[in-house]
């Protein structure tokens, strides 16, 4: 009996094409396995094999999402596969978004089992977990050894049409699907049992975790921009030349507060980017491309805004934990309010 056919999707880095400098690589397809596909193929065993690998640059995909998705889908469809696997993307944001988007599209448009894998904080996770099976992985490729068995395990279950267990049982991100079942004990007993455990300080497991609503109501608009004090905040990692505070190029453990009072614009001579998640050459050549000081100074001189705040706040968004980003913002937001800032322009890459 012939093996089932699998098509695998990876990015330019895992394909060995290159790093950031090749992130604009257009979609292409290669016969057989590439990169991590080797390990995945081995784990699939006799049941299935990867017949083709579709490769696309992370920046290309994210900057041309519709076209890239269509092109990738066409490449996948040609192989008439029985199963589709994307990634693992770990904490690489653009990769996770691409992997999630393609996995969702394959499931919906080609109607075949599709699965991907990434770290829980990957932006692609929140975006696509409701629409695609996403297996949990660690936050870096160092965990590839654990990721592959987890990914192929769920992939094979989907391929064989086996019953998929709960997110905990099969190690995938909860999709918000509620499944009815008959419990042994009635609800009132389960509720009292849980309460007794809680009162005794014992461990208990909620039957319904409350969703994390992280929405903020928009603030009312600025009434008179000509009188407003505007501040700049960036996750694009713009820092004074030499990165004096040593903000990390990934997983930033801190943010910086920098004085721009003497500057009419930023330049290669005085500023640089610390961001390690994309090709830094353009931001280093002209930091105004990430932190638009030049334009805001002009607008300040022309009276279009009241004032450009003398400090800007900067960190590197690349792979930085959501909890960290939140903590930094809570801290410096207080300073912004105390300084009488009326509105903030945040820039990200």
């Amino acid at each position: 009996m012939s093996k089932k056919k699998v098509v695998h999707y990876i990015n330019q880095f895992f394909a060995g094409i290159g790093g950031e400098e090749k992130a604009d690589h257009e979609p292409e397809v290669r016969e057989g396995v590439v990169g991590p596909g080797i390990g995945i193929n081995a784990a699939l065993g006799d049941d299935a094999e990867i017949v083709a690998t579709v490769i696309c640059g992370d920046t290309y995909f994210n900057e041309h999402m519709e076209d890239a998705e269509a092109a990738v889908l066409e490449m996948i469809e040609k192989y008439d596969p029985d199963l589709f696997i994307a990634g693992p993307a770990f904490n690489a944001g653009r990769y996770g978004v691409a992997a999630g988007a393609v996995t969702k599209a394959v499931g919906e448009k080609l109607g075949i089992p599709a699965v991907t894998a990434m770290y829980v904080e990957n932006p692609g996770a929140d975006m696509f977990k409701a629409d695609a099976y996403i297996v949990n992985t660690g936050d870096s490729a160092a965990t590839m050894g654990e990721a592959i068995p987890a990914l192929t395990s769920l992939a094979l279950k989907l391929l064989k049409g086996e019953e998929i267990g709960t997110p905990d049982e099969d190690n995938y991100m909860a999709r918000g699907v509620r499944v009815n079942y008959f419990a042994d004990d009635r609800g009132s007993k389960r509720a009292v049992d849980m309460l007794v455990k809680k009162l005794k300080g014992e461990e208990y497991e909620t039957e319904y975790p409350m969703p994390a609503f992280d929405r903020v109501d928009p603030n009312p608009p600025v009434e008179d921009m000509t009188k407003a004090k505007i501040a700049l905040v960036t996750s694009g990692g713009i820092v004074p030349k030499g990165n004096p505070d040593r903000i990390e190029s990934s997983s930033a453990s801190k943010y910086g507060k920098y004085d721009i009072s003497g500057f009419d614009k930023l330049s290669e001579a005085d500023h640089e980017t610390a961001h390690g998640g994309h090709d830094p050459v353009y931001a280093n050549e002209d930091p105004n491309r990430v932190l638009p000081v030049d334009v805001l100074r002009d607008l300040e001189k022309e009276g279009a805004i009241g004032e450009l705040h003398q400090y800007f706040y900067s960190t590197v968004g690349n792979g930085t934990a959501v909890a960290s980003a939140k903590k930094y913002a809570e801290e410096f937001a207080k300073e912004l309010v105390e300084a009488g800032v009326d509105a903030v322009i945040t820039t990200s890459t």
Binding site: G93, V97, P123, M127, A283, D294, L299
Partner: protein, 64 residues
């Protein structure tokens, strides 16, 4: 101001201005410096417009 708008929407940003590209959100190295600055100004002006606009939940303000 960000390039990958779906990410900003997912994390809940209220006022979003799409920008040019990941490595140069407020610029375009293919343009000459004067044109590039004009482009940057157009994007920033759209951001100021967004800040001056009443929004309900989330709104994307396209500049280019």
């Amino acid at each position: 101001m960000c390039t990958i708008v779906p990410i900003s929407l997912t994390v809940g940003a209220n006022r979003i201005v799409p920008t040019i590209a990941i490595p140069h959100p407020l610029g375009n190295p293919n343009l000459d410096p004067v044109e590039e600055k004009a482009l940057r100004r157009k994007l920033v002006e759209k951001a100021l417009e967004a800040l001056s606009t009443d929004v309900d939940g989330q709104e994307v303000f396209e500049a280019v």
